[in-house]
Symmetry: C5
Subunit: 350 residues, 5 copies
């Protein structure tokens, strides 16, 4: 197996006539003419070519007798923050880092035709997750060099799917961080983050779920293009998609639970705020009323019933004592209702 | 293949006896007699004709041995804001714009009979999404002219289904706008908009879901009226309905999440309002009480214990200082509880 | 086919021995002896007869080799508001109006035995939805007179199922009314109405769902008692149950959404109330405190620091100005927080 | 068929060798030795015997070629409020009343071996729901005496399942009572009752659901131990489990809806409380402020601008009038906002 | 059957050539070389060996013609609180207690190869739940010594699955404790505990669910490596996983209900707090206003309308009486609204 960069489609025939398996990798879908030519050269079905150009396909597999058409997705390699799909970046650019826009998952479509002796992949843009596969092809030994096109297709799909694991582990950490944040600091600002997380998990689910279906079809359906020993490997790959789905569903459930905690925390917060207000107000409002009463200007000279307390020798201390007693009784009542001791307890537990 | 407008059903026979495929397109269901005549002419099943006139059918396919009866739906072309179904508008009117009443999705039933050599479509009213199909028929070359009635039926169904994509993209934008609105301006008025959106998505789901079923039946069941090569195209069309459903379900999940955010935002809002009230009230209520105490009119002359503070040299400054100290301590306590710094932080994050 | 009212079971044999199809319709289940006799006469299975008397059966179909036992339900015709099932009303009463107790759906069981040449229906009480069927039988022409017992059974089931459409349309209007009410007048009293509606829809669902199952069984299973051409009609009837379920599910989803709107509206309301309280209290509490301070009775004569402001020439205007400034600043702060302008905006949007 | 009480397992052989069907009923699982002996005597599978002793089995049916092992459950007969399962109470005690601990559903396992000519039942404790079956066996005539072991097993399962109907009807009444309570007296204490109800319905569901599965298996699977005519009866029994599930699911849905109503009611309550507070506070806070202002002690002698109002001839009436006007305007504003008239209306509707 | 500890893989052949079944148990996955050698020696599939080393596999069974690869999980034996998977602890350590980190469920992968005459298990670390199996092997009699590798594998899987029962019973107690706590002490701190519980139940579900699938596959699929009599035992084991799932699902539903109760309790609490505040404030605010009015300093000498009440003989008593009457009327109004008596009632029921 050799590796070469060809300048145009016309050079391709020689390659495809070589022995073994020929992998043609087209990065960037801008050059419709070339794609059309390849389609003609390898006798690809026009509907499949149309789907290749429409980069919003769900992962799927379609059996066109003499070739399989497989659509899969991988996390997008996004060098310039330019998410415009369909535009082919400069062909020579090689980026090592996988970005996802401020935590938002963006995926790239990989359309893959598998026939006898050839695999053709169409990527949306240069930069992919297939470097390990290329390395294995480059090495002299290795299963991949001695097997057919179906094994190469498996290796590519496997690379695409495994590239989701680090992303999902990052989501796992985000979930755990949010979980801790929400429980420990039940402030209010987390709800939007939880929503973002759920949105991203939804996107991941939409991407992974049809890949699982696609692999299930590949494993179970009886295409002569897939050898039985390759099916064992595809089954393993299928297991990986189940693991991914399992992670996603778990994170989604935990994230949903976080919304409840968050709402309860906000309620608790408010409850506590209200309790403080109520206690302060409930104690001082009656006391202020009493003070207000003795601030009235009824004329004591007009009659013996007009505010005689004002002239008592111990009027003021008695009034203060009455106020203190009322305040104390209210405090006792609050404690009996569990607002003070219980409040402390509840707050400690929250 | 030729295209002509016939004045009455009686002219039809000549057309149908021609070679190739005859497409009879009836726009408007008001003329029951004509419909009955066509039914007799082409030997259509009475139950299917009944369903044709009852425009509230769910999309479905029914196999009547010598013809298939397919019901599909397309977004309604509504020129005068007149949503009265069943009324046939003026036959010559040609509107280019697809309206949906203030964002509300309205669909129109298309009943389609497919037999050997003929396709008959009954639309609720003039104006449809089949113009591209007519254009392709008009062109000299093109697959559509060399294939049978099944391919023409596929082309019509495909046109009907693809006409939902722009609508759903508009919903996608509405979802994103609402998402941003709710997160950025957590005011109260969004809940009704979210409800409207969910209602529309529910309508869309009710329209698309049975189309998916209908196409699945067409692809899988073994009718001699559908050629195998047409099945591949129908499978592609089926994929489109899956994509539509996928979009709808995603939007629905996001919209459901928005309700949570909205409710949480309203709670946060209220929390913040309450915090301000509580702080102001908690600080000033005790201070006002102290002011009230020294506003009491106990007579200092009646005894040495009657409000001696009023006669102290520094009584007033001492009282003000005590008030300031109490206010300061309360502020400190709020800060310790995280209501001031924490409030600022929480508000920033919300 | 003739129609006659027989006085007792003993007269029945003659009828059943006539050519064509014999439909025996028993309205009211009170006369157990008669029912037992009919069972013996037509060789009906004892378990089926037991189910006939127990009027709480779910719709179902059971195949007893020589006859089918079909249970369906129709909306109950309730003349005297007497919902006691099992009681047979006066046999001659003919009511045209279908009532449902204050909006609550009440259904009546129709047990139907279909054999070769006979259909026997047991209704809970007189009054039914089969009048159109009787009319069609009465007419000289019409499919129903030339077909077998299976077609008659179809006609009866179809009448029973179609009688749910007006009820569900009434529910649809109730849903729309509630929707408008809740959005426009977000008062508090709607939650119980929404609950009632959901309860009724649940009842409707419990009634329609098994009818759908029952028809599906009739269409698919291979009973020699059902002719193939009748199956096409049953399939149509099955489509109607799907339409009914579709309506019910949609209404249920919308009703569920209304609970959210209602809760959000109540929260919004409260929010608004709290905002008014907070603004009034927050503005006046500090001002009242200041007024309280200058209401203190510290003796200015006791020292120069004792409330010298009271003796200032412009003390009072200065105090009022300070108060106005504080109030104005607080109002400005509220506007900055969006409580005044924003409140107006939020209220407009709610 | 005769009925006898045997003292020990050794007497059993004679019984089992008799003609017809032998029903051995063991009440209480304490005597492991006896159970082991019976197992040996009838060649029962050790795993099934283990399951018999472990009383937490889910209802199920297992086919051990020469015998069926059926596990079903019935409501527990609990004479002494002793819920300790596995303990065998005094064998002679006969209780007529079915208790369930303060409304909590407790069920008892019935393990049932069905072979050719014998049925062996193991109950957790004495007291069961099989008395009607014993009565039918005791009667001279009756299907049960002329049929095989499979019919007897059916009769026992049927008795066990039918014993759940009165319990579920009691739940139905509880649901309706709670519904009325929650709507009419929207106090706060119902949430725990709703939770208890949901918990009990969950337990009922866990008990009934596998019985449905078990009966479905019995009806559909092809065991030679079950005669075809018995299958018709088992199908009837299966219908009963569907009815039970239907009731349970409906009650569960209604109960879930009640939580919403309850929460909404609590919110409404609070809303009303807040409205009263807000109105009182909003009216009197500004008035109290005005009173506070004229309670200030600025010295009118210090300058003409110091509280000249105090010296006005109509100062006091004017102040009171101003207060009355402010209060009136606020009341008008409340009415305009719909808090007074609207509040009345909203309260009436809640 | 003998039991021995071998020092290296090279000693294994002699063992495996012995008659009967050979069980090789590798505890700790650190020594990759040994694992590779075993793989070669027993001809294990490389993909299965890879999965053995990757300890995050979901339980599953894979059929590699000459051997089955079974992945199961057991609760982790964690002596030093060291949860680092893959590290092999000291081989001689024997811990009797199963810990789970502060209630968090940690499971350990057991990879199990079953071939003709051998069972090979790979545990993540020393310490397992297989001691009872070893004891049974050690005993002279016992089914396990006379059966094949499939029965041994069953015994191991059974031991692994049964080890989850005590854990789930502990969860059951946690659920009940929380239930009682939440209902009896509706404080605020429970929401985080409920979340933890739900999280743990989610983990348990993720562990048990695929074990159920795995056992279902073993029972149903037709591998020559599993004898029919062993299938009966596996079916029993499968029943255990159903029981475990049943417990988990029930606990999850109850836990979800607890969130509702908790939220309702917090609302109730707040309601009660607000009611107290509202009553105190509503009673005293008007009274304080009246006191404030008579604290105004309008000069009675300036005119006859200036606060003549101050000079009345019974002005003060009349004012106090008016205040008492207003307070009493408000209390009466509260009682009429059900806030006092009803509050008591509502509080008792909460």
């Amino acid at each position: 197996m050799s590796r070469q960069r060809v300048a145009s489609v016309d050079e391709l025939p020689a390659v495809a006539e070589g022995h073994g398996v020929c992998w043609i990798d087209i990065a960037g879908l801008g050059d419709h003419e070339t794609i059309r030519k390849i389609g003609e050269r390898f006798n690809l079905h026009p509907l499949a070519l149309e789907d290749t150009l429409n980069v919003r396909q769900r992962p799927k597999v379609e059996d066109y007798d003499d070739h399989l058409f497989i659509v899969t997705r991988m996390p997008m390699n996004d060098p310039e923050g330019d998410a415009d799909p369909g535009s082919s970046g400069p062909p020579g650019s090689t980026q090592g880092a996988w970005s996802h826009h401020e935590g938002q998952l963006v995926t790239e479509q990989v359309a893959c035709f598998v026939g006898t002796g050839f695999v053709i992949t169409f990527q949306e843009r240069p930069g992919d997750v297939f470097e390990p596969v290329r390395t294995r092809i480059g090495k002299a030994s290795g299963r991949i060099r001695s097997r057919g096109a179906d094994y190469l297709a498996y290796a590519l799909i496997d690379a695409a799917i495994d590239s989701f694991f680090p992303l999902l582990e990052a989501y796992g950490e985000r979930v755990e961080d949010l979980e801790q944040e929400v429980v420990e600091r039940p402030e209010s600002g987390h709800i939007a983050h939880i929503h973002d997380l759920k949105h991203d998990l939804l996107t991941a689910r939409r991407t992974i779920w049809p890949q699982r279906e696609m692999l299930n079809t590949l494993v179970r359906e009886d295409s002569p293009l897939i050898a039985d020993e390759t099916r064992i490997f595809l089954r393993d790959c299928y297991d990986h998609t189940i693991q991914l789905m399992d992670m996603i569903e778990t994170y989604r459930e935990v994230a949903s639970g976080l919304v409840d905690i968050q709402l309860a925390s906000v309620s608790n917060r408010m409850n506590e705020v209200m309790k403080v207000l109520t206690m302060i107000a409930t104690i001082f409002i009656p006391l202020t009323f009493i003070a207000g009463v003795y601030g009235m200007n009824f004329n004591p000279d007009a009659g013996p019933w007009n505010m005689p307390e004002l002239g008592w020798r111990y009027g003021y201390p008695v009034a203060l004592t009455v106020m203190a007693v009322i305040g104390g009784l209210l405090l006792l009542w609050f404690r009996r209702k569990g607002w003070i001791g219980g409040g402390q307890r509840g707050r400690g537990g929250s």
